[in-house]
Amino acid sequence: MKTLVAAAVAAVIAAAPAIAETKIGLITTLSGGGSHLGIDTRDAFMLAVEQAGRDDVTVIEKDDARKPDVAKSLADELIQKDKVQVMTGIIFSNLAMAVVPGAVRQGVFYVSPNAGPSALAGKGCHENYFNVAYQNDNLHEAMGAYMKAEGLTAPFILAPNYPAGKDSLTGFKRMFEGDVAGETYTKLGQTDYAAEIAQIRASGADSVFFFLPGGMGIAFMKQYTAAAVDIPVYGPAFSFDEIILGAVGDAAIGVKNSAEWTHDLDVPASKAFVAAFKEKYGRVPTIYAGQGYDTAKLILAALDKADPATDPDGFRAALAAAEFESIRGAFRFGPNHHPIQDIYVREVVAGPDGKPTNKLVGVALKDHQDAYAADCKM
């Protein structure tokens, strides 16, 4: 009898995490430049929460307007006033650098749906920080490996002159290994690439690799096509999500880009997600939406096992185990809480409705882990 009571008590305690309320703070970019990334992340995240149908999870949304000081202040508000246990949502690395170190030191869990600066993957890693998307260099490394495998020998590479841009070209060269035909850094936010395009044409390159996120990539692709240069173009997925393709138009057709997930991936969970997202929001989900969805699924799966408020160690272990149905298929974390995953190559093609879209063409890297994991001591 006594053991029966004890078992019942144990069962009640075990079930307790499902009853306790968990608050998740979601800070993302909903206004100003780059807001379509934040909106896609938010929409997919909320879709997953809605599908889970749980009334013990509250998500508090905040708009950082892409300003680091605003993001920092919102994070403090969520932690100190709303007492959230889990935070997520930030898109841009400079905002993540403002928020994450302070947040995890205050005992909050931060699960990144996009930004993966190298500083947080190596020496600055933390046991409460998880990245569901990638370390920032991953997609560039994958493209370097892919272009090398394709037998290209003289790529012209360009990126904006800021840390993520430098990481990008360093990551590319890390896996490409050979010499490049030319290497150029442009001004952040530059809108006219005529001078760089003329240099590309004159350089004798056999391919172009560029990392120009957001409006910069749109401008570059349109001007590149208008200049009638016939050197093939490669890049990370950042300039080729479905929303940007809508603004670039047919100029992007034929471009190969690397991504850790794509909407035509042959994984049941992915197909279900794409259908549900289209149904609810009427558009094709971008990789940011995919990352937002996986982030929510991971957090919800970990909440089933442990309550971060009462059992942070159990919750951390549950996050690290990553036992959830990822839309990428298999998903696991490396020792620095960044994914070890396959990275795919997609080609931009004309979709069934005539609008350009991405089509899966191959795998660039299998089970890829970032280069900073070894520096991480947690």
Binding site: L30, S31, G32, G33, S35, H36, I39, N161, K166, L169, E183, T184, Y185, T186, K187, L188, G189, T191, D192, A194, A195, E196, A198, Q199, R201, A202, G214, G215, I218, A219, K222, Q223, A226, A227, A228, I243, I244, G246, A247, V248, G249, D250, A251
Partner: protein, 306 residues
């Protein structure tokens, strides 16, 4: 660097300069005639691009979009002038800076509300796509040549308007003596609205033209605004001629700086570092140019008022 590449890069600089002139002309005109410093000028540039993209997307015609973009920017300019800015002409520059800073917020958020947060699609018309060969072997996009042509055409029209027509005479009179033209029986309020709408229309036209080259998105007017200010300060605020010279100077210096500085540093540095350092200096170059001009000639190259 080969001669053909050099010619191509100079053309690129000229094209950037011409586009800057279209934006800066309205800014300098408004300052010259009304004494108003208008930070919201970049928002009118953005208005032109957004309306052009929207009309071109709905009707399928870039040319309709271009006309609509310029007209919409002119109309938006006229409305803003009548509702807000005319109350600021006799205020100090501080109030003007603040009010037009507020207008940027209103325009940007308004555009995001109406058109959504995602960038819009706008492509060059088929007639102007493709490239032509330049002597020496390089190819140059026809659309960029068209921008150069349109910009120079607009500059000539503006010059003819100011020096050859009755409206231009009144504008010149307004620049030199505001009370006098009132005494001549000219309806000064209408004149001011017209001048403002003209400047806004030029900015909208530039925005629509450039929209086909880059992404049409909220905030696209701000970098252009800062560049346009650099242009008119170098040229002399209020002088249309100064704006033209300043625009070409800024366009060519900015383009050549981006090309030549990394090249220069690579003589004594590893190429990837040289590119970084060169790009960093290139992004500061036009501000250095502007500071240099102002130290040398505090009123700009072509001072408008003696």
């Amino acid at each position: 660097m080969t001669l053909a590449l050099l010619v191509e890069q100079i053309l690129n600089g000229v094209q950037l300069g011409v586009m800057l002139f279209l934006t800066a002309a309205g800014l300098t005109l408004v300052f010259g005639v009304m004494g108003l410093i208008n930070l919201a000028h970049g928002s009118l540039f953005m208005t032109g691009a957004f309306v052009c993209a929207w009309v071109a997307g709905t009707t399928g015609s870039f040319w309709l979009g271009l006309g609509a973009g310029a007209l919409a920017a002119a109309a938006a300019g006229a409305v803003v002038e009548m509702l807000v800015l005319r109350r600021l002409y006799d205020r100090d520059h501080l109030d003007q800076v603040l009010a037009t800073f507020a207008l940027i917020l209103v325009f940007s958020e308004g555009a995001r509300w109406i058109f959504g947060p995602q960038p819009l699609w706008l492509d060059a018309p088929a007639a102007l796509s493709g490239a032509v060969s330049l002597p020496g072997g390089a190819a140059y996009p026809i659309y960029r040549l068209a921008i150069i042509g349109a910009g120079i055409g607009a500059a000539l029209l503006l010059w003819a308007l100011i020096s050859r027509t009755r409206l231009g005479m009144r504008i010149r009179a307004g620049e030199s003596d505001r009370e006098m033209i009132g005494a001549l029986g000219v309806d000064i309020r209408t004149l001011y609205t017209l001048v403002f709408a003209l400047g806004a229309g030029l900015a909208g036209f530039a925005g629509a033209m450039v929209g086909a080259l880059q992404s049409v998105q909220v905030g696209m007017g701000e970098p252009v605004l800062i560049l346009a200010f650099v242009v008119i300060v170098i040229g002399g605020i209020g002088s249309v001629k100064g704006a033209f010279v300043g625009a070409l100077l800024v366009g060519v210096v900015d383009t050549m700086g981006r090309v030549l500085l990394p090249m220069g540093f690579s003589n004594f540095m590893p190429p990837s570092e040289a590119s970084g350092v060169g790009a960093a200096l290139a992004s500061m170059l036009i501000y250095v140019l502007m500071a240099g001009v102002l130290v040398w000639r505090p009123q700009g190259l072509f001072p408008a008022h003696g």
